[in-house]
């Protein structure tokens, strides 16, 4: 063996050894990691890990870091996705030893029944975004659901499906986590987040109240008769002047049984949270 070989092998070993020792010493003598980081890593284990951003933090780990720093973040703003899963919520509550406020999650609703007739056969780019740019969609109603599934694509849990007959998106409340990604994906602004105990929603987004022609555009379209407001005694339905459409009380989520029955267009649709109120009225 030439001296050069020995030297180069020796030198590499020596430098490797020195570098290893320095790293070892550094990890031993440097101050320990900020405890909140380790804590955040533990809290993250309880979170859904979908990184959906519904909590307002960029991803689950950022939320975990915020909770690790200040537990009140969890109390006041519990992870909305976890709030859908009672067991998971209990596990995190037990771990933190805290109770979260306002555990009602959110669910998406599509304000359209899809009954509006198609005006033409759309053969363009197969997204709602594309279809919406061609003469505000191919349906009679310019506000309706186009049913090409932009919301289906972004949904992280596959909770949205398309009814191909009526070309309308339908949200399954069992699997919806209320992240709101579909809300921004919809070019027609048809999707809205509702409290998970909201018993009904309006299946229409036809806002042009004074446009009488609009009534003919869809057999289901809101005719803005306001009968839903008139029959509701407890203020469960109010009139939203800006949208010119009925809106439902989001704070108490009252059941508007009378309005559901009286609506001439039958577009106040029951959600999965709807419960029969007959026992109370008897």
């Amino acid at each position: 063996m030439s001296t050069q070989t020995v030297l180069s092998v020796g030198l590499l070993t020596l430098i490797g050894f020195v570098a290893g020792t320095v790293i070892f010493l550094a990890s031993k003598f440097l101050p320990k990691e900020d405890k909140s980081l380790e804590e955040a890593a533990r809290i993250r284990e309880f979170l859904p890990g979908a990184d959906c951003g519904a909590c307002g933090y960029p991803g689950c780990f950022a939320y975990a870091q915020a909770v690790a720093k200040d537990r009140q973040v969890f109390v006041n703003h519990p992870c909305p996705t976890l709030a859908q899963d009672k067991e998971g919520m209990h596990r995190l509550e037990d771990y933190l030893g805290l109770k979260a406020k306002n555990k009602v999650g959110k669910k998406a609703v599509v304000h359209c029944t899809g009954k509006s007739e198609a005006l033409a056969d759309y053969k363009g780019i197969n997204t709602c975004q594309g279809a919406a740019q061609v003469a505000s969609g191919y349906k009679e109603c310019p506000y309706g659901c186009l049913g090409l599934g932009d919301c289906v694509t972004v949904c992280p849990t596959g909770a949205i499906s398309i009814n191909n007959e009526r070309k309308v998106a339908i949200v399954d409340w069992e699997t919806c986590i209320g992240c709101g990604l579909c809300v921004s994906a919809c070019p027609q602004n048809l999707i809205e987040l509702m409290p998970a105990n909201m018993p009904q929603y309006l299946g229409c987004n036809y806002r042009a109240a004074r446009d009488i022609v609009g009534r003919k555009r869809c057999p289901d379209g809101c005719i803005h008769c306001k009968i839903c407001v008139k029959v509701s005694q407890e203020g469960e339905v109010t009139w939203d002047e800006t949208k010119d459409l009925p809106s439902f009380d989001k704070e108490y989520c009252l059941t508007a049984t009378a309005a559901i029955e009286k609506c001439p267009r039958h577009i106040i649709k029951k959600t999965a949270a709807y419960r029969e109120m007959s026992t109370i009225s008897d």
Binding site: Q4, L7, S8, L11, L12, I15, G16, A19, G20, V22, I23, A26, S27, L30, P31, K32, E33, D34, L37
Partner: protein, 192 residues
């Protein structure tokens, strides 16, 4: 002194790491989508370049040259730079969490970035003295940061532009990089 200034601007502009020497192209495209992350990445690279130059220059001149084993420089430099970045990352993580959140995640990415390794080789190939090599590393890092910032600024605007569908995203970024490279070639005429 004027020699040092010439080296600094020469490394930053005329012999720009990314656009003239084509080193460190992966972070150039990977981390140039947002101005903020581009700035963090640039500063992290600048820091590692300077520290790497400070450490590798003596190793080469006082260990490798006397024992006549210069051919070992690649493997030894990689080893040294990799462990150095580890230590820097560990130190930042444990002493300043805010700084770690801003820079730390980029440090493992540039452990053996070719631009970092490249500057240590350039220092030796150009036979720079110790102060010269530090200035060269500073210049190279500054040039890298500059290009990353310019690129991210352009790409943020490109997101809002409306190129043909096939060019959206990375393809149009490649074309932009080409034009940017042509611009930087013009610096060749300013400082010999």
């Amino acid at each position: 002194m004027s020699n040092l200034i010439a080296i600094f601007f020469g490394m930053a502009l005329v012999n720009n790491m990314v656009l003239v020497k084509f080193l460190g192209l992966c972070p150039f495209f990977g981390v140039s989508k947002k101005l903020k992350s581009a700035l963090s990445m640039g500063i992290a690279v600048l820091l590692v370049m300077v520290v790497a130059s400070v450490v590798t220059w003596p190793i080469f001149h006082f260990l490798l040259v006397p024992y006549n084993v210069e051919f070992m420089r690649t493997v030894i430099f990689i080893l040294v730079i990799a462990s150095l970045v580890q230590i820097i990352e560990m130190t930042i993580k444990r002493t300043n969490l805010t700084l770690y959140n801003a820079l730390g995640i980029y440090l493992p990415l540039i452990t053996t970035n070719c631009a970092v390794l490249g500057i240590t080789f350039i220092n030796i190939d150009q036979a720079y003295t110790f102060p010269e090599s530090i200035i060269a590393a500073l210049g190279a890092g500054a040039g890298f940061t500059l290009v990353l910032i310019i690129m991210s600024g352009i790409r943020e605007r490109l997101d809002m532009a409306d190129p043909p569908l096939a060019f959206k995203g990375t393809p149009i970024a490649f074309i932009t990089a080409m034009l940017l490279g042509l611009c930087f070639l013009a610096f060749g005429g300013i400082i010999g």
